[in-house]
């Protein structure tokens, strides 16, 4: 009986709910069903705000604030605006200054925090490289990755930053950076060819002790260090530590900053559009060319000079696989790098407020898509070709996708990103095989292929896939319009500009890196002794084992 009553009661509730439901939906009809808005209602005329209006702005009383503000409604009001004259109170001028400062503050915080993320990539590189090397070289490989941060930073602070950004001129999102205004240029074909910047030595020279310059320095410095740490991977397990220090210093002081000036510092590559009508000039949003290809190409030069590890090739020149000691470190490092890349690419807007800065969402998604497409492409390639989804190559595929999307991330759409990433994933596998078997250049971590080959692919891909939808203040590199590739209607000028950048990397940067490292070889010696190499570099070079409590097989 009681059961029957309960069921009846439930039934009545359901009936009531069903009868009420349509009514409640009817209270919020879809927008299309709403009464049409009044036809072309005249827009209200803008009313000029006066200082008097601002004087009357409601502010919380001191008593109210003294009681605390648990819901946050009393914090951040007109009373927090900095006033120039306390007697006048808030004026229009104060308000405008506060708005301007807020924009720059947002951009400072954005650029600094993304720079911190890029700095953390050093940890990712360190454990990827160490995991791919043998345990007997763990201390040496980790220490190179650790030390390159300081060595590169000092070189860049002393002279590298001045060469790269000393003539960049206005960086609007960061408040102008006006002290960076002296670019040395020559005239070629009747046009100025910017070669290097001149202001900013020690961050004190010619007014560069400046808040905007400091933010720009931090962001650019961590990029430079990324390029330097690429080389430590390809030369690992046989590079003399002293040679590594000198080579890294030269790269941070000269090789990297010179190309970075040409691409980002107002140099001749950036101005190929303005001076020679080649699209928007050489474009490289976050550094596939400037950072990764420079690192990868220098890695090739150093690896050629230094030669392969003992045992890598047999007497006929056939390559032997030398396995790394910790795949867990490798894949964990890849994840750290993928995380840091969200600083690398979106941070390259140098702001989250201002012209086109809201593209950060698109840049971040493009980065994510291309990275995973690269990992997927490499995994499928290895699985199809060798029967197993190789873990280290899948990790390298992820990095290859990220490297390739770095330059185009600000100019392409999601479909373009996935295509670029997939191609990168397959390309890195083919390139590793080519470097290993045809060139017979020993690269323990695949840095030449991940960063060099795919850095160049990323640069080229802009000339193909840039969709013409990005708009960073209506122009790029001083040329009106959006960056557009040939698949979206460009006449090929953008592709030519990109290819000139590629030849500059392959021709000029390689030669400069090679000469520097040849000099290091002559004066310091690049390679450790055969005895030290066979024993493992931890004791002979560093004086301590990476894993002292483990018995290691050489």
């Amino acid at each position: 009986m009681r059961m029957k009553t309960t069921r009846k009661f439930l039934f009545l509730i359901l009936l009531a709910a069903a009868s009420l439901a349509p009514r409640s939906f009817a209270q919020a009809p879809p927008a299309a069903a709403a009464a049409p808005p009044p036809a072309a209602a005249p827009a209200p005329k803008p009313v000029p705000i006066t200082d008097a209006d601002l004087a009357g702005a409601p502010v919380p009383s001191a008593d109210a604030r003294a009681k605390g503000d648990p819901d946050g409604s009393l914090t951040g009001t007109a009373s927090d605006i900095t006033v120039s004259d306390a007697k006048k109170g808030v004026t229009i001028g104060d308000l405008a200054n506060q708005v301007g400062q807020n924009k720059i503050a947002i951009n400072f915080v954005w650029t600094l925090v993304t720079g911190f993320l890029v700095m953390f990539m050093q940890a990712g590189f360190a454990i990827v490289e160490t995991g791919l090397c043998r345990a007997k070289n763990a201390n040496h490989t980790m220490m190179m990755n650790f030390a390159v941060y300081g060595v590169g930073m000092l070189a860049y602070w002393l002279i590298g930053f001045a060469i790269q950004m000393g003539g960049v001129g206005a960086t609007a999102n960061l408040g102008g950076t006006p002290p960076l205004s002296a670019e040395f240029a020559i005239t070629l074909f009747g046009k100025p060819f910017g070669l290097f910047g001149q202001n900013g030595l020690f961050l004190m020279h010619k007014g560069t002790y400046d808040v905007s310059v400091m933010v720009l320095f931090l962001f650019q410095m961590v990029f430079m260090d990324t390029a330097l740490t690429i080389v430590t991977g390809s030369a690992a397990e046989r590079w003399k530590y002293a040679a590594f220090v000198v080579s890294s210093f030269l790269m941070g002081a000269f090789t990297y900053p010179i190309f970075a000036n040409w691409a980002w510092g107002g140099g001749w590559l950036a101005n190929l559009g303005a001076n020679f009508n080649l699209g928007k000039g050489y474009c490289d949003f976050a550094g596939s060319g400037v950072v990764h290809a420079v690192g990868g190409i220098t890695a090739l030069a150093v690896s050629m000079i230094i030669g392969p590890r003992i045992g890598k090739y047999d007497r006929t020149g056939k390559p032997n696989a030398i396995l790394g000691h910790d795949i867990v470190l490798v894949l964990l490092g890849c994840f750290i790098l993928a995380f840091g890349w969200f600083g690398f690419n979106p941070g390259s807007t140098l702001g989250a407020s201002g012209n086109g800065a809201l593209r950060i969402g698109s840049v971040a998604v493009n980065t994510m898509l291309a990275g995973m497409a690269g990992g997927f492409g490499a995994m499928l390639y290895m699985w199809t070709r060798y029967g197993k989804p190789d873990a280290s190559m899948s990790g390298n595929g992820l990095l290859a996708g990220l490297v390739a999307i770095t330059a185009p991330s600000g100019f392409v759409n999601p479909v373009g990103s996935v295509i670029i990433g997939l191609i990168a994933g397959v390309l890195v596998c083919l390139s590793v095989e080519f470097v290993d078997r045809v060139l017979k250049v020993d690269d323990p971590v695949g840095a030449i292929s991940v960063h060099g080959t795919n850095g160049l692919w990323g640069v080229i891909s802009i000339g193909l896939f840039a969709d013409g939808k990005s708009n960073y203040g209506g122009s790029w590199n001083g040329v009106t319009g959006s960056v557009t590739g040939i698949f979206y209607g460009d006449n090929g000028g953008q592709l030519v500009a990109q290819l000139i950048g590629v030849v500059t990397l392959v021709g000029f940067v390689f030669t400069l890196s090679f000469i520097f490292n040849l000099l290091v070889d002559w004066f310091v010696g690049q390679r450790v002794s055969a005895k030290a190499e066979l024993e493992g570099l931890d004791l002979p070079e560093m004086g301590a084992l990476g894993y002292p409590e483990f018995e290691l097989k050489s």
Binding site: F189, L278, M304, K440, G492, T504, V506, G507, F508, T511
Partner: protein, 60 residues
């Protein structure tokens, strides 16, 4: 051979820069690609070959 290799690599770069004197995008593209091929030949065909002649695995 190392010196010749470096000269060839730089020659490719110079060729691509000289393409800027041309006015047709198609011609510029062809010249830049030629410059790229020259630089790549310098690295792989000349410089690397010089190093492989004395490769470490041939010594032992």
């Amino acid at each position: 051979m190392i010196f010749i290799g470096l000269l060839v690599i730089m020659l490719g770069f110079v060729i691509s820069v000289l393409s800027l004197a041309l006015h047709s995008v198609g011609a510029q593209l062809a010249v830049v690609l030629f410059g790229l091929a020259v630089s790549l030949y310098g690295i792989m065909g000349v410089l690397n070959r010089a190093y492989l002649k004395n490769a470490i695995w041939k010594k032992g």
